[in-house]
Amino acid sequence: MSTLHTVNKSPFEKNSLETCVRLASKGNAVLMYEDGVYGALKNTAVANLVKGAMSNLQFYVLGPDLKARGLDAAKVLDGIKVVNYNDFVKLSVENDKVQAWL
């Protein structure tokens, strides 16, 4: 069964991203949104955690939440896809279930 994992908390405030990466199955999708978008950026303390998981997981980040925070695709780690709200809906229905890490 395929799972979409969502992370909406900053990885510097909560361990949601770390736990998500630890417990997601190979082939799963991970979408970072709201304060979760900080986990998608280059040169952070969690960048290696995310890069190390890319061979198992496909990461996405919500563009509108990047933009709201003055961030853009250039600051996002290579390999993470920037998506919009329609893509978020598609990901939700294309997967069998959603695991919303709070």
């Binding site: 949601s16 630890r22 199955s25 709070l102």
Partner: protein
């Protein structure tokens, strides 16, 4: 096809600082009344929810930890605890409330509901679920 789905409640917050733990337990008990296949997972700070010796009398709020012992009577007999989360906090299973159930298929023998699992085993358990609810 069966209408029974596998519901997993994932608990990752300590008990009294926020309302997550208490809300989770309420939803778990409601879900159990609907004859679904319910299991629980405690990981990260969620493991503190089921530690022994909780006493909230001086806080003036309800100590809901004894309620976990009733889950067996609601048919909730699979309570997964992540080994790594316990170890990181210097805890062992001996520090947890001994949650039990009576196995009606085995002459009502008393059995442990708590299953200590590694992160890699928990990955598989999560993968098997139909619905995941996080608290």
């Amino acid at each position: 096809m069966s209408d029974i789905k596998k519901f997993m409640y994932v608990n990752r917050r300590a008990p009294y600082g926020t309302v997550y733990a208490w809300e989770s337990l309420e939803v778990v008990l409601i879900g159990a009344a609907f004859d679904q296949q319910v299991s629980l997972a405690f990981l990260d700070d969620g493991v503190y929810q089921i530690t022994k010796g909780q006493d909230t009398t001086q806080l003036g709020i309800k100590n809901f930890s004894p309620t976990f012992s009733a889950l067996g009577d609601y048919g909730i007999t699979n309570i997964f605890v992540e080994k790594e989360s316990l170890e990181k906090r210097g805890l062992t299973v001996a520090d947890l409330i001994p949650l039990k159930y009576e196995d009606e298929n085995d002459n009502y023998a008393e059995k442990d509901s708590i299953k200590l699992v590694s992160a890699s085993d928990l990955v598989k358990v999560l993968e098997e679920q139909d619905v995941l609810l996080n608290f």
